[in-house]
């Protein structure tokens, strides 16, 4: 009986150590991935929750992309623009690229220019005026 208990305890410890190792490995790989997709805010006039939403959205897109694939800038821009239009109302504009200059007029609290993993993203909001009929 005592032998069986000892064996169970030994197995339990072994399984626990395996679980701990797996957790540790998962955390390390997560940190590695995060550092490989480092966000750098270049210019900003936007509340923090909205900034984080933009980073999260860009990260998700870049992470879901197969490593060998070339970045589809247009699709990332579309994803961010649609996300912000639906969450925070029209009209958001998004430019994604590795080399561009810009000069824009934006609504108060609606401007973010950041880089993530060598990709530069400009996201800004403009007021929408109804068309005169």
């Amino acid at each position: 009986m005592e032998e069986a208990e000892k064996e169970l305890e030994r197995r339990s410890k072994f399984l626990n150590s395996l679980i701990q190792q797996k957790k540790k490995a998962a955390i390390e790989s997560e940190h590695e991935h995060e550092s490989s997709l480092k966000v750098d805010v270049r210019a900003c006039d936007m509340p923090l929750p909205l900034q984080n939403r933009a980073f999260q959205c860009a990260r998700l897109y870049l992470e879901s992309m197969p490593p060998a694939n070339k970045l589809d800038s247009k699709r990332l821009a579309l994803a961010l623009k649609k996300e912000f239009d639906s969450s925070y109302g029209p009209a958001w504009h998004c430019i994604v690229g590795t080399s561009f200059g810009s000069y824009v007029t934006h609504s108060v609290g609606g401007f973010l220019y950041f880089s993530i993993d060598k990709v530069y993203i400009l996201l800004f909001k403009t007021a929408v005026e109804p068309l005169d009929h």
Binding site: H93, I95, F100, G101, S102, Y103
Partner: protein, 59 residues
């Protein structure tokens, strides 16, 4: 004046405005070095705001 023909990719703009845009781009490249992207964008945007009313964006 800069030599070379402007190529229009996609447009939804009056012909006259398109002409203004290409003329201003050409003018901007006379004033600024091709690497000064922000200055070129600023110049075109400001001129369009002045000529056609506020709210223009330029990349």
């Amino acid at each position: 004046m800069l030599e070379g023909k402007a190529v229009i990719g996609e447009t939804d703009m009056l012909q006259t405005m398109q002409q203004d845009a290409t003329d201003l781009a050409s003018k901007a490249l006379d004033f600024f070095d091709v690497t000064e992207a922000i200055e070129i964008a600023r110049f075109i945007k400001k001129e369009f705001d002045r000529m056609h009313g506020p709210g223009w964006q330029c990349m």
